[in-house]
Assembly symmetry: C2
């Protein structure tokens, strides 16, 4: 690895000139001929600028740390990937790179701590929340982020106090799906959530209960299923739930993947969608469009959420010290997996 000094020596000038040129190729502090000699030297020596030395010197790294408190492999979750995709799109166009730190810890808090430990020097952070996090952990993680004294924004985390930049997709948006089903005449609804214990699941469950009770419909904990975000678990959980609750007319799912699996389970039970049972997904992902029948779903605007969080961070990075909260709402996408029920007959169907 050749350094700027070697480039300078090779070009017969001082390293300061090389640095000045490299940071502004149209500078007039370096003559035209010298520029040519520098370029030649860079080529001859295969010089690449050391990002660490440069970051250390300028106290700016043009790198954003992405903190995702999960013990699962990264890049394997549909939601997260869509968010990341939005984030990267925006940050990249402003010249920022993304940094993912390793962690071997097993708990949300330890993961965040470990990732932060060697991360000072990033220009900012984006903190995700995942189904693993309880509210207590989320708050602790935010506290940890605050300690770094760097700008950060939280993404898809249940709403927290107003001292933190946050982008959130209303957790309550499971209710959009539930309300849609109720409007269509369903009153025997199964709720298929991800992992029990996390704050997300807790919120969604509470919201479901409220929505059901507000509509004077039966609510029972037993009608809340946990599919663990996986197709397999969702499949088997739905299958046995339908056998347990043969009156079920609809399933409201927390993710399109689980909705797709639910659909398979219903089929394999010899029933059809939406004739016998209606299904609604969540996320408007490709899964919902590619299933048969195509799934009605709630578009969570994850890509937009990613863009927004990047924008928010960029804004803060450029000196805006105000705290912002960006709230995105899901929108219902009606397709072919929900049947309109005759209110009178739905107990007999």
């Amino acid at each position: 690895m050749s350094s700027i000094k070697e480039v300078a020596k090779h070009a017969g000038i001082s390293s300061a000139s090389v640095s000045i040129y490299l940071n502004d190729k149209s500078t007039n502090r370096v003559s035209a001929e010298t520029k040519i000699r520098i370029e030649q030297a860079i080529k001859d020596l295969n010089y690449y600028k050391n990002v660490f030395a440069s970051s250390l010197s300028t106290q700016k790294s043009k790198l954003i740390g992405i903190i995702i408190p999960t013990i699962l492999p990264l890049f394997s979750n549909d939601y997260t990937n869509t968010l990341l995709s939005g984030i990267q799109t925006r940050l990249s166009s402003f010249g920022y790179g993304l940094l993912f730190f390793p962690s071997s810890a097993q708990s949300s808090i330890e993961i965040v701590k470990e990732q932060l430990e060697n991360s000072a020097g990033c220009d900012g952070y984006i903190l995700f929340s995942t189904g693993f996090c309880t509210m207590k952990q989320i708050l602790k993680n935010i506290g940890e982020l605050k300690k770094t004294q760097r700008p950060f924004v939280t993404l898809n985390i249940p709403q927290v106090d107003n001292t933190v930049n946050q982008v959130l997709i209303r957790d309550l948006d499971i209710s959009t799906g539930v309300r849609h089903l109720i409007e269509k005449g369903h009153n025997n609804i199964l709720l298929l959530l991800g992992r029990a214990g996390g704050e997300h699941a807790y919120f969604l469950k509470k919201d479901f209960q409220q929505t059901m009770e507000r509509n004077k419909l039966d609510y029972s904990d037993k009608k809340i299923l946990y599919g663990n975000y996986s197709a397999e678990t969702a499949y088997s959980v739905v299958k046995s739930a339908i056998l347990n609750f043969p009156d079920t007319t609809a399933i409201c799912c927390m993710s399109d993947i689980m909705a797709s699996s639910a659909l398979q389970a219903v089929f394999d039970l010899g029933k059809s969608v939406p004739e016998d049972i209606s299904i609604i997904g969540r996320n408007n992902s490709l899964y919902s469009r590619l299933s048969n029948p195509e799934l009605s779903t709630i578009d969570l605007h994850m890509h937009q959420a990613g863009l927004s969080s990047a924008n928010l961070l960029l804004d803060t990075l450029s000196g805006n010290t105000g705290i912002q909260k960006i709230l995105l709402s899901g929108t219902l996408i009606e397709r072919n997996s929900v049947k309109t029920l005759n209110r009178e007959s739905n107990h007999d169907s």
Copy 2:
């Protein structure tokens, strides 16, 4: 941001001691009481180690640069995400983080160049290939990587010479699907590829042609479709192809997503799968399992490929200077989207 010096001062010792302790908490060059004082100081000052200063000093960053020559948003491609997931799993467990550099360029070569420009200091790189790359570009990109003098491995790139560590999934594995269809009695096969122009598509197409001709079956360029890796394009392209070639008995697809779309197109034409038309996908992704009928597909072992590339890099990083080539082959997953045809009757079906 507090520095190690401030921590040292606060603890009443020299920064060397702090550094020594931080890099080995069980060191015996620092007394037990001093360790406690250091910990206290770190807490009091919210100290985090500056990754750049540390990397600069040790000449090791524990960071791997991921180079993906695409102009599309990162994290939006199913293949790539699965590869990344494998890479991250392995690298993280060895304490390595991932670095994604920004780039605003529009061509494969410029993208790689730009990303490398400010990346010196990474311990190593993993270079992806994408549907955008022609062989020429790939070779150029590899040349660019070589110049960095850092260990790197190429992933999913058409086989190159033996001076480069490479992990590849045999490009020819479209033939596994084609052969399967032929064995099942199909001889009127449509090939659905991604993007025209890239090396991947070129290889797959050539291989298809060879396989068809070796089996003495009609081959025509017109039966090669380009779905642009997208569900929408695949759908419309398949729809019109089936109208053009009503004798079609099977479609071999380069990706599960496009296969899923092909399935929809077939349905929407009033035909059914596999009764009228057989479909085979590629990647054994969730899409193939969640479609109805479930898609036969080729498992490309993308996650394993990611793991392997990480292993290979780790191996090189730990001093192994030998060049390795890891070749993974796809394996056929038979599900319910391929029908066995009676060879005599397949022209009349």
